[in-house]
């Protein structure tokens, strides 16, 4: 066999492999509403998987020709996996979307706009707005969440501190924190978490009168002295010993410390109700109150939406499923079994009643002054900077104000790149 023949045989082989691989990727869509279809539905919260499966089964009852496969990916890898899948044109048919990632996906053609006249007045306007960009809405709100002050009643009783209520201010909080800290027993008042800005820093930033990003989404708010005050709230707790230091919180996450009775308080989202009601330790020992008040009252409000992939092979089936997920009956099912606040107006009471052991009304009481989760076109880019620049401040290596100002200029750069 000559060299040329050998090479050509190899090339034919390569060509065959390539042809086969492209053939698999390019299956054509069928848009017949009665065609049999199997949809993939990607979610990240393991606590909600049983509820999502229940919804999928319920939907299958009324739409026997459509089967939905719930695919759970842990939060830690959800976005990495989704981004890779979307780049390869193989995103799930329907998936969960959040505020920080929405605009990037929507403006790059990954999501299919809602074009079937969904009645969006059934959902809070702030959530519909979160999933609207350039005048088009891409997602039907699924649930929403606010942040509250979870506390361990046993530890409060042991320290002789009154339970938190709506009269609490930052000063009350700090005074209580001092009493709740018990070095000898390894008990801290609270963990100054660095990895969940939604539950920690953003709340105190707005309570101090600061802001994360300007209203037009073009400038960082981290250089604002009020914003820095909101950050100092947390670093002061570490300095005073009321919170474990960053090294301890790296080894054991604050939520795990709270769930094992080492933290007296925990700033947690409404979604934590599902977690705390199933955990043997917290089930009977914790309760929740509204966040303590700073210069003003604030809590971050955010909600998820169900979105459809622009490249789905079954657009009509996917659309029917998303409509169902946005329906009142789905919302009620969600409230009872998923343990999250459904977005459909008027169905939230079912959620409050689903866990009578907790004062869940606290999350709804804060709606009047809730602040929308700060986002821009490519939120993830500057969210990474937030952690990167604030880590030394949390670790006590740099002063918070310096770190915040460096973060502000880095974030301004990232925002300028968004175009």
């Amino acid at each position: 066999m000559s060299w040329l023949r050998r090479t050509s045989v190899a090339l034919v082989g390569i060509a065959a492999v390539l042809a086969a691989s492209t053939a698999c990727g390019g299956s054509k869509s069928d848009d017949d509403p009665n065609a049999k279809a199997t949809l993939s539905y990607a979610v990240w919260d393991k606590n909600q998987v049983p509820a999502m499966e229940k919804l999928a089964a319920d939907f299958h009852q009324s739409h026997p020709n459509i089967t939905v496969n719930v695919q759970a990916t842990p939060w830690e890898t959800y976005w990495t996996k989704l981004k890779a899948a979307a780049s390869g044109g193989a995103a799930p048919d329907v998936f969960w979307m959040n505020g920080p990632n929405f605009q990037l996906y929507a403006t790059n053609g990954v999501l299919k706009p809602l074009d079937d006249g969904t009645d969006l007045s059934n959902y809070p306007k702030s959530l519909v707005d979160l999933y609207t960009v350039d005048g088009k809405t891409y997602g039907i709100p699924k649930d929403f969440d606010t942040v509250g002050l979870w506390y361990n009643k046993t530890l409060f009783d042991a320290a002789g501190v009154k339970y938190p209520d709506d009269t609490w201010t930052w000063d009350t909080f700090k005074a209580a924190a001092k009493k709740l800290t018990n070095k000898a027993k390894g008990v801290y008042a609270i963990g100054s978490e660095l990895t969940s800005f939604q539950e920690y820093q953003y709340n105190t930033i707005y309570q101090a009168g600061g802001h994360v990003i300007s209203d037009d989404g073009k400038k960082s708010g981290y250089a604002d002295p009020a914003t820095i005050e909101g950050l100092t709230f947390w670093t002061d707790l570490i300095k005073s010993g009321a919170s474990p230091d960053l090294k301890t919180m790296t080894d054991t996450q604050p939520i795990n410390l709270f769930e094992s009775g080492k933290l007296a308080m925990y700033y947690g989202g409404s979604w934590d109700a599902a977690e705390f009601s199933t955990n043997g330790y917290t089930k009977s020992r914790v309760d929740v109150a509204v966040l303590p008040q700073g210069k003003k009252r604030a809590t971050i409000i955010h909600g998820l939406a169900n979105v459809i992939s622009a490249k789905t092979a079954h657009p009509s089936a996917a659309s029917q499923f998303v409509q169902y997920l946005g329906s009142k009956e789905a919302a009620e099912l969600l409230a009872q079994s998923a343990g999250v606040l459904p977005a459909y107006n008027g169905t939230q009471d079912a959620w409050v009643k689903s866990h009578p052991e907790f004062h869940l009304q606290a999350f709804l009481d804060q709606l009047d002054y809730a602040v929308p989760y700060p986002v821009s076109r490519n939120t993830a880019a500057w969210q990474e900077l937030e952690t990167k620049y604030l880590t030394p401040a949390w670790n006590g290596q740099t002063d918070v104000a310096t770190a915040a100002k460096q973060l502000a200029s880095a974030m301004d750069g990232a925002l300028a790149d968004e175009k």
Partner: protein, 318 residues
Amino acid sequence: MAVLERVEVAAPPRPRRRDRIRWSEALWGYALIAPTGLGLLVFYLWPVLQTAYLSFTETGPFGGPATWTGLNNYRELFSDGEFGRATLNTILYTVLGLLGVPIAVVFAALLSRPGLRGVAVYRTIFFLPVVTTPVAIAMIWRWVYNGDFGILNYLLSLVGIEGPHWVADSRTALIALVIVGIWTGLGYNLVIFIAGVKGIPRQYYEAAEIDGAGPIQQFFRITVPLLSPTIFFVSVVSVIGSLQLFDLVYVIAGGSNTASRANPAFDSMETIVYLFYAQAFQQNDKGYGAAIAMMLLVLIVGLTAVQFRMQKRWVTYD
């Protein structure tokens, strides 16, 4: 991700030049290696070429058509201190990781002493980490290293030492990674070394004993020199493996946290492959990621070439 590349070290004896190779024999030979050859072309060579091309381009956040940007990615790479730091961490890890080789040699010599009982049990214990998934190993070690509740610090506290937060303290984080790396690789290296030791004729030891050499002298004068080709092979493989360190960093630095960057010791643990993963897959900056991968390729080829050059000084083939 840390794939061990198999490197053929002991060069096969060169086929003596035959005057007449029978045509059909050669044809058969080519036909038999064709599947592997094709596989290498499609799954190894083609991706390498594609990566090289990608490293000169920039793509959108979701892939899409790549635009040619020339040397931009490389320029950015060298002006970004993070790449330098990651390279330094990787090299440091690789060098410290080589300590695993002498440790494995000593264990292999001990384990192949004649008359030792329960060898199979020891070998199983040493080999267990090799067949365990790296993520599971890393998660267990993370607990071992936990500064407040970990067993390591508990044991240290028994002798009055207050242990650090091993993986959250920049002074100990890399060492903690090295220890796990060596521990994980020990079993694999042992299997190779034990085979090597078994290949040394007993007569050498008997002769040495008659001449009055003790076990330590025998180890350094007979075992080590005669094992040197195996030591060389294991060193090359271990360097290549260490340079590709990813999974341990990913799990140990990040752990249950979403953001590994929130670990105050992250800067001293980030490796080249981790940086590659963060850029190429988390940020989806494929071009920049490809440039990092190309630099890693250069580093691996360079270090392996240096090792091959140096082997002439210390490896003895009998």
